[in-house]
């Protein structure tokens, strides 16, 4: 028995932290808001190997598992990496595309009108049949997080000319490079969950620093229980969400048939916990946080977007309920 990240995941996370500390600052996110494709950042992500994290080593990937994946996505969330990182890492195992940052994948989900990152993606795939969209039109709309590059997409799907997207499950497996039972949807959902906790941790760090520094009534405002206690409550939520993310990653890595249950559990609790953290942190900052000149909003707005992306908390809670019904528990 051991519950926690394996050493390789910890090493990956620490390495990624070093890369992102320089390559992805708040200024990088602001550039993405101003329509920069952030090619430099994405090249670094490619060089580091992050984009091929889940891709087999034979295809030039790192061949790591979902535990390393969530460790990396949490770290990426802390830095607020702009662009379709979770989607690209989750879907590259299914498509024979470059891992160097030149390929950025957006995913069109059934029933979701506006495709996140469609405005900046090099490829748009449909989630349900993995078909590549071609000859499409984009109608960009603005998200509260301007780095999201949402667009309504109209286009035809076609067999991915370069890839594996229309192979059957057996063919996937036989083709090599795709782990048995690998589910890109589950990965993207769980990666988003981990990213959300990274965003929450970043907002917490900004808030702790502010509460130590800001003085009112002659003392640091971090001495007031009226601020301390709500922050502690929010921390309880995020701290208890992380093991659920790990559990789901482990289930995916083991090909556990119940993995979907754990993934939905993870997305439900991280969506709620990260949202709550954003509220508490914004409130703790007072007017200071309520301006785009200060960085907090960059992480808060991504949180609000991702909390509803790849399934809302309510949707995933309903899926957990379905599993419980299936087990005759509910």
């Amino acid at each position: 028995m051991f519950f926690g990240l394996p050493d390789e995941a910890l090493a990956l996370r620490d390495g990624l932290r070093e890369v992102l500390t320089d390559a992805c600052t708040a200024a990088t996110i602001r550039a993405a808001w101003d329509r920069s494709p952030c090619d430099g950042l994405w090249k670094e992500l490619g060089d580091f190997g992050l984009l091929g994290l889940l891709v087999d080593e034979q295809r030039g990937g790192l061949g790591l598992d979902e535990l390393s994946f969530v460790a990396a996505m949490e770290q990426a969330g802390w830095h607020g990496v702009p662009g379709p990182l979770v989607e690209t890492v989750s879907y590259l195992p299914l498509h024979d595309l470059p891992l160097d940052g030149t390929a950025r994948l957006a995913i069109q989900r059934p029933g979701v009108v506006h495709v996140p990152y469609a405005g900046i993606a090099t490829h748009i795939y449909r989630e349900d049949d993995l078909a590549l969209l071609s000859a499409f039109t984009l109608d960009e709309v603005e998200s509260v997080d301007r780095s999201r590059r949402l667009a309504a997409v109209q286009g035809e799907g076609e067999l991915d000319p370069a890839g594996l997207s229309l192979l059957s499950a057996e063919e996937f497996e036989a083709s090599g490079g795709v782990p048995t039972g690998f589910s890109a949807t589950a990965c993207a959902t769980l990666g988003t969950a981990a990213f959300l906790l990274g965003l929450a941790r970043r907002q917490l760090d900004l808030t702790v620093a502010y509460l130590k520094e800001r003085k009112q009534f002659g003392v640091a405002i971090g001495t007031f229980q009226g601020l301390k206690h709500p922050v502690a409550d929010a921390v309880v939520d995020t701290e208890f969400a992380w093991p659920v993310v790990l559990r789901a990653a482990y289930a995916l890595s083991q090909g556990d048939p119940n993995a979907d249950l754990h993934v939905s559990h993870a997305k439900a609790v991280t969506s709620d916990a990260a949202y709550r953290m954003s509220r508490v942190c914004l409130q703790a900052h007072g007017a200071m946080g309520y301006t785009v000149e200060y960085d907090l909003h960059l992480y808060a707005k991504r949180t609000w977007a991702l909390a509803k992306d790849w399934g809302t908390a309510a949707e995933h809670r309903a899926r957990v309920a379905d599993h419980l019904v299936g087990k005759d528990l509910l």
């Binding site: 509260v144 009112q216 409130q283």
Partner: protein, 374 residues
């Protein structure tokens, strides 16, 4: 207890309803951008021309001498008709009550008609970089000189400051004073030499805030409102208005609930969220009823300390809950720029401005309940 409107009140309500239904503009941009603000001014002047800008004021200043019940009815009709935000609110709802209470006849005559007509546009200068919740720590100075005063210092978080023409604010007029002593309430034209205004963006990206710098700004003695050194008590009257009823009339939330229910119907969420939507309706109704009771209590001289803090705690949290529910209904569309996400971001400021909710809870605990201060 009598919740029937008199024939006069009903006639007033119906006249307001008719005019508003016919005249409320549709699709105005945000009034917290330079372009939007200009469009809103046209609407404000239209309101004034029809004598709907300041219904509770005396007729001489452009009002209708409406009772508070009539004012509440007007507000209800205004939001029911989909009326836009009032970009003049910091003047007509925050400064004006103070002017009525503390201003000289000359000040009232000079300032109120121009304020009502949206000719003078007032912003509030309370907060400073180092003084937020702890307003009494402010350091902007007023030094008495021959024929008046010299103002120095910096105000910030001034809502729509970049588009306004005048500022009301607190300055330390006694350099030896501490905390809430030795402050004076000044009325300052923003085109005075030495004033610099820098707009900056709020959470939603609109340039809704400003920093205002004062560098030896000369103002006459007539710029003082309510007496030298009396600034704190004069200002507290205004903050009571800000957090209480006059800034956030119940019609606003009833209208939000109506829009929310329409959204839920449109998106097929009525059944799934029936308990939450019902609670939303109940909460907005409770706010309306509470304000009716509050007005009645005040008219009967039974107002309680801390009552406007209760009021502010409730509406600020209600507004967030209503918008969270809308975002829940919208699901992945919640992040789209639009009225609901904008309303959500604005709602998030509710527990911060007009005295943070932490401060309001202290007020409830200490003044209403009598718990000890630190």
């Amino acid at each position: 207890m009598d919740l029937t409107e008199s024939p006069a009140e009903l006639a007033f309500r119906l006249e307001a309803r008719e005019w508003l239904q016919a005249n409320v503009p549709r699709g105005l941009p945000s009034g917290d951008t330079r372009e939007g603000f200009a469009e809103h001014l046209l609407w404000e002047r239209e309101l004034f021309a029809a004598r709907w800008a300041v219904v509770s004021w005396p007729e001489a200043y452009g009002g209708r001498a409406a009772s508070v019940w009539e004012w509440l009815a007007f507000e209800e009709e205004y939001y029911r008709a989909g009326g836009p935000q009032r970009v003049t609110q910091n003047g007509i709802f925050l400064l004006a009550p103070t002017l009525f209470a503390f201003g000289s006849q000359e000040q009232q005559d000079a300032l109120l008609p121009r304020m009502a007509a949206a000719q003078d546009l007032w912003c509030q200068g309370w907060s400073e970089p180092g003084s937020g919740s702890d307003l009494a720590s402010l350091t902007s100075r007023a030094d008495q000189v021959e024929g008046g005063w010299r103002l120095n210092g910096q105000k910030t978080w001034t809502t729509r400051g970049a588009f306004c023409t005048h500022l009301f604010g607190l300055f330390r007029s006694d350099p030896t004073s501490e905390r809430h002593h030795g402050l004076t309430y000044f009325l300052v034209p923003l085109d005075a030499p030495g004033v610099t205004v820098r707009g900056f963006a709020r959470l939603d990206g609109d340039e809704g805030f400003a920093e205002v710098f004062f560098d030896n700004v000369a103002v006459p003695d007539s710029a003082v409102l309510g007496g030298v050194g009396q600034g704190w008590s004069v200002a507290m009257a205004t903050t009571g208005s800000e957090r209480g009823l006059t800034l956030r009339s119940p019609g606003r939330y009833s209208a939000t609930v109506s829009r929310l229910l329409a959204l839920a119907r449109e998106r097929g969420a009525l059944e799934r969220l029936a308990p939450e939507l019902t609670q939303a309706w109940m909460d907005a109704e409770a706010y309306r009823l509470f304000t009716l009771q509050q007005v009645s209590n005040e008219q009967a001289g039974r107002g309680r300390p801390g009552e406007s803090s209760l009021n502010k705690l409730f509406w600020s949290e209600l507004d967030i809950r209503l918008h969270e529910l809308a975002l829940d209904i919208l699901g992945p569309d919640a992040e789209l720029e639009g009225p609901w996400s904008k309303g959500f971001q604005f709602a998030l400021s509710g527990p911060i401005y007009a005295g943070t909710n932490e401060v309001q809870k202290n007020i409830v605990a200490e003044r209403l309940l009598g718990l000890p201060r630190r």
